[in-house]
Amino acid sequence: MTSTLPAVTTSTVPAQRQPVPEVRSTSRTTPSQRLRSSRPDLLLCGTLLVAILVVQAWNIADYPTLSDDEGTYLAQAWAVQQGRGLAHYTYWYDHPPLGWIQIAVLTWIPSWLSPGSMTVGSMRVVMLLISAVSAVLVYVLGRRLSLPRWAAGLAMALFGLSPLSVVLQREIFLDNLAVMWTLVAFTLAASPSRHLWHHFGAGLAAATAVLTKETMLVVLPALFVTMWRHSHRDTRKFAVTGAVTACALIGFSYPLFALLKGELLPGGGHVSLWDGIKYQMTRPGSGFVLDQSSGSHGVLHSWLYYDRVLPLGGLAGALLLIATWRWSVTARALAGPALTVAILTALALRPNGYLPAMYVIQALPFLALVLAAGTASVAHGVLRRWRRPDERKWMTYGRYSLAAVLALAAGAYVVPKWYDGDHTAVTADANAPYRAASKWLTSEVADPKDTRVLVDDALWLDLVHDGYRPGLGAIWFYKADLDPAVTKTMPNGWKDIDYVVASPTVRRDAVDLPNVKAAIEHSTPVATFGTGPDRIEIRHVQTTGTADGGLR
């Protein structure tokens, strides 16, 4: 038998195992060494997980409305599965491909069992797995950041049950996957064992998050802060450099990939990573978020429509934590999430930044954590602050009554609103027009194989399964104007198109797309599903009766 020497116990080697070696009041539960074997933690986390899964799964295919982006990523995942490369049209470095490669892996088995299920509505199911992992990670991270059990549970509930979360996390967005990896990174960075390879793993997970959705890049400083705080003085330099190296090396695989394909820099006749980045960096801004008339304001409004508690409460929680940094242990422990919220808020407040609707997704877990931590801080203030051992009984009762009143008031405010929001989410059917349109195109078009349809990304896979030729038969509508590989098959422009499925997205974007616009103008609706601005029209292109018509 051999072994190393037992640990030294002198003052020079403070090797405690607590993640945050600060003095805490006795009443707060310290996170157990092994969360896995702590029964109350497992029970709480498990119960919440079931609740979150039920709410998110119920009616997942029918609400919210199928989004164009979901269709894009799922179609590209389909292309990966089919061995058609990274996309069925030319991959042009719009995003790093790791996100939909993961979606391809996730949907592999269901689509293998039933190829027809590879459509946006039915494949939303796989997002439940992501939501579940993320929700559990929020709980674990909360515990690792020294939140009491109830506050970690609160964070998990806020993250998984807010109507805003329910709507966004159901959708097949790369951001949801990236959030999961970011949470993995934070959880590893806050590992209570402060293990070198846990921190290294945090770096790997962070790189994966960035390669899933590049916007996660801005969260890295907050991750760094978390890691710094949770590493030990004696091993920090190895842990932190290891993590940074891991992150950088994995991150460099993307430019390396472009280099190996000869597409790093712009050149004649091929796409390039450089152009892709340039496109993303120069996207037209959507205005100042607080300017009532701007597009950004509209996006903000759409978030607040679903839920005010999580975004605004989280923001308030972050402000509270930053303001009480000097005095509050919780505030210092939550430095990482608070900084994340601060960074994301600052970026959203750029005077003319581009603010997509998914932007808030990456903030959701951190908003939930800081809101829960803020609540824990307030609870601590009410129940414990300036409390002496010989405090009079009525004073103690007063503290508890105040806490109860506050909790009840918060519940009375939040629960009805969330009930309404989540009730809509589990009952509303927003996608009936899409399903009807898909059905019509299957049953009413005689010869799908030789029919060319302009369709938005969300419905594209449905048509592919119905026998339309992927790419040039079923055409992502904007490719008819923007992709040379498609336009060159349309020498007669709009006349080479048979149908346009005019969904709200298509009608909105057609303004800037001449071919699509012309096809819409020269077509008549043969079937209409739904009413008002959300309606979907199937329009048949009329080539007869025009000067050079009659060819088709």
Partner: protein, 429 residues
């Protein structure tokens, strides 16, 4: 088949080589970073503070050959030890009157110093120490080299370690210090740093350990039971460790930056090459002696196999890694395969970064000023050092094949004091 068949074959081959290299480098890195895994592991690698009791008596072996210049200083420093119960046995050759005179003079001044004369016709370090072993009176035999700077409190710490852990063997730290001397001494110092600071502790924990050549302490009865050192092995220190740990003796390793035995790197690139050749050949001999096969655990035997073959794997990978990457870049292999070839390079890069951080830590631990140029030397010198290691490995195999297992003494390059010192730096790295 044709071109496609060839391409497929090339791809599979490249992928297999890349993955093998990746796992090799990854495991080596994993072990190299052992001490810094968690703060607790790091804390456990140090000596625990002595409690003031002293119950173990020491016999300190000090083999000296043509070392009249440094010997007296080393003896004086050893005599300054705070421990109260030890003897120093200086082992000199019968053909070396100058060193003998210095040793005899020291013995005349202090009764704790004794002199043993080695009369072997062909001399080497294990023979010298075996000659002295019957004369040892202490409970524990310790080994030092004639030019070692030993910390006065080391014995007290080792005494405490023996008593509190029930160890049969205690290995203290040895550290090359003169990192600023040359580009290779920088890398050499760092090798020692990672080996004694980190990797050896992993070996102790796993129950398979190649010991170092000095600052090593063994219970006298255990050592006699094992028949001392193998006089025919070029890495007798490594061999002793392997034999003792293979029969289940408890080995404890402790590293404290102020308690290490300080040494200097070989004086020239050639002597470094020779030293390394000897270690590699010694490792090869230990591997072929098969004592490690008695290790009970499969994992232990695997670790033994891997560790003893490390010099050769290192040589192999040093040549293959760049070649592999070049193949990936210039041959038209699929992007996925090309990616795989970069895996070993990734681990190499991680290793480089950790070496840079290690150099920084080394400077901090020893209060030495590490400048930017040293970091640059470390990185730039890396590939060249790899070439040196590869050369030494190939040389070792060649010498072993030819049956040349003499102690490559200094007569080839003209008897030179420094070189004689060099061949006794017996620390595998």
């Amino acid at each position: 088949m044709g071109i496609w068949g060839d391409l497929l074959l090339t791809s599979v081959f490249i992928a297999a080589v890349s993955l093998a290299l990746f796992w090799m480098a990854a495991f080596t890195l994993w072990w190299q970073m052992h001490a810094w895994r968690t703060p607790e592991v790091l804390a456990s690698t140090r000596f625990s503070r002595p409690d003031g009791n002293e119950h173990v008596s020491f016999s300190l072996l000090l083999p000296a050959r043509h070392e009249q210049a440094v010997l007296d200083h080393t003896i004086q420093r050893l005599l300054e030890s705070t421990h109260t119960d030890f003897e120093i046995i200086v082992i000199v050759g019968h053909d070396d009157p100058e060193t003998t005179a210095v040793a005899e003079a020291a013995a005349g001044r202090d009764p704790r110093v004794r002199v043993v004369v080695d009369t072997h016709e062909k001399k080497n370090k294990p023979k010298a120490m075996n000659t002295a072993l019957p004369h040892c009176r202490g409970d524990v035999v310790g080994v030092f080299d004639a030019e070692d700077q030993v910390h006065p409190e080391l014995l007290a710490h080792v005494d405490h370690a023996f008593r509190t852990t029930g160890a049969d063997v205690v290995q203290g730290g040895v550290q090359l210090i003169n990192f600023h001397s040359s580009w290779y001494s920088l890398r050499n110092c760092l090798e020692y740093f990672f080996w004694f600071r980190s990797r050896l502790h992993l070996h102790a924990q796993k129950g398979f350990i190649p010991l170092g050549g000095n600052t090593v302490f063994v219970r006298t009865d255990v050592l006699r039971e094992a028949d001392g050192w193998d006089p025919n092995c070029l890495a007798e220190d490594c061999d002793l460790g392997v034999r003792l740990s293979s029969v289940g003796k408890k080995v404890v390793v402790a590293y404290d930056s102020d308690m290490v035995t300080r040494e200097e790197t070989p004086g020239s690139l050639m002597s470094l090459l020779k030293q390394r050749t000897r270690w590699n050949q010694g490792f090869l001999q230990v591997y072929r002696k098969r004592d490690w096969k008695q290790l009970p655990g499969f994992g232990q035997r695997l670790l033994a196999r891997y560790t003893l073959m490390t010099p050769f794997l290192q040589a192999f990978s040093g040549v293959i890694i760049p070649l592999n990457a070049a193949v990936a870049l210039f041959l038209d292999v699929p992007v996925g395969i090309a990616f795989l070839t970069f895996l070993p390079l990734v681990t190499a890069a991680v290793t480089f970064v950790f070496e840079v951080v290690g150099l920084h830590d080394f400077g901090k631990q020893y209060g030495l000023r590490v400048r930017l140029v040293h970091y640059l030397k470390l990185v730039v010198g890396g590939p060249f050092y790899q070439v040196l290691l590869a050369g030494a490995a190939i040389r070792a195999v060649w010498r072993e094949q030819r049956g040349r297992n003499d102690w490559e003494l200094t007569s080839h390059v003209g008897a030179h004091l420094h070189d004689t010192a060099v061949i006794r730096e017996d620390v595998p790295a």
